[in-house]
Symmetry: C2
Subunit: 231 residues, 2 copies
DNA sequence: ACCCGGATGGCAACAAGCTGCCAGCCCCGC
DNA sequence: GCGGGGCTGGCAGCTTGTTGCCATCCGGGT
């Protein structure tokens, strides 16, 4: 499995790509690279990776150190990272400690770290409990990787949108009602479909309107979609 | 401006990173790499880059060749790529010729190409009319770059959503009405604000409902937001 | 066993929205 | 100058939605 060779001698090689096996080797051999001076970017699959050998409190303290040193920290997570209340609470604290946290609209299969725009560490898939890490410092490659990351970052949703205080609590039945409304169904039809009276259905819709902070059904529809509710 | 060195000797170097200067050199030295066998991925700033030395017809013929050969082609463009009708028309043809085309929700600053998951070509910024290209074939790096690309791809919008046939035409007045509806305003109030009668306002709302394909106002609100109308 | 609170459902008054009909106005073409 | 078409606005009948009120039921606690 080799790529066709580049013709003639390479004009320049501005750094090497190092492949390291396992997180222990990564930290031992390239751990010092994690000391960011200006910017620390991390695209993570979940909240435990990259901190599995240190406690969450330690991670938070490092964040505080970064903030004190003026290092901009960007952390991008998979949607699964906010599925559990404990993980969501942790991410809220990560944000409180100065990191910018966003949740990716789609699944990020592999992780990446970019430090000071100078080095990128790209994780491979997990094989036999370990992953290979590619450490690259070629400016063009690092910038290309950072460019793709920033594109994803722009499209991601700020963590604040996931915090309970800013987001209406809609239970499963509420989502079902929103789906029926979104499908254009009349109250009588939808109520029959759900197996309760139109009065109760209308009571529920009124509750949803309150939760969404809407004063008309059109506004409620816009709000429901804006909040990315699963309708 | 150098990165702190990796401690000890590198355990493995699975390929080099080659930096090429300018598109002419890129094509001359690494042009053969563009011959994809299974997959061709391209994240482009606009429709002209990567084809500035060949005509659009030539590009379309190459796409047909790719399709005939069973090569999956993914093309991701900036939002600006669909701003002009001529560009949009060209992209429609690109899609007709077999490429999957999506539009990124945010601005992609630099371009990237990934061929067969084996080599990545990352473009740098334009300086004095030329760009440097980093050609990398280290599996870990290529996979990491592809991973980030696919995350952005998942979040992008299919080109079909931008084609006029599938997208309701809403004029400026229509958008204003949608904004008032989105603000929760009653018909009488909104009509007065716009300076015409409530009958006319309701006539307009009915037309918008038709355009959005909605049978209720809630549904219309959801659709308006889904289409990303500026409301 | 009893009581109370919460939820449901039916009814009704009212509000908001939907749409047809028709008169009047304006503009354009002949 | 006239006629016709398109648009607007008023009115009205109807539909859909909003919300209050009250009777009934059910479950939980004492």
């Amino acid at each position: 499995m080799t790529t066709a060779p580049i013709t003639a001698a390479p004009p320049s090689v501005a750094g090497q790509v190092i492949t390291l096996h396992g997180e222990t080797e990564l930290i031992a051999r390239a751990g010092h690279l994690f000391e960011a001076k200006t910017e620390f970017i991390c695209a993570a699959v979940d909240t435990s990776i990259w901190s599995m050998s240190i406690t969450r409190d330690h991670a938070l303290r490092r964040l505080a150190t970064h903030r004190a040193a003026g290092v901009a920290v960007y952390k991008l997570y998979n949607p699964a990272a906010v599925a559990e209340p404990a993980d969501l609470a942790h991410l809220a604290r990560v944000a409180e400690f100065g990191a910018q946290v966003r949740i990716c609209p789609s699944k990020l299969p592999h992780e990446a770290i970019i430090i000071d725009g100078r080095v990128a560490i790209l994780a491979g898939p997990t094989v036999a409990g370990e992953r290979d890490f590619s450490v690259v410092s070629v400016p063009g490659v690092v910038e290309g990787v950072r460019s793709l990351f920033m594109t994803t970052w722009q499209a991601a949703t700020d963590l604040a949108e996931y915090l309970p205080a800013s987001r209406p609590q809609v239970d499963e039945q509420g989502l079902t009602i929103l789906r029926l409304l979104s499908a254009g169904q009349k109250d009588e039809t939808a109520a029959r479909q759900l197996g309760f009276s139109v009065r109760t259905y209308r009571r529920r819709v009124a509750e949803l309107m309150d939760a969404l902070g809407a004063s008309s059904r059109f506004q409620a529809g816009v709000r429901a979609r804006e909040l990315g509710l699963r309708i």
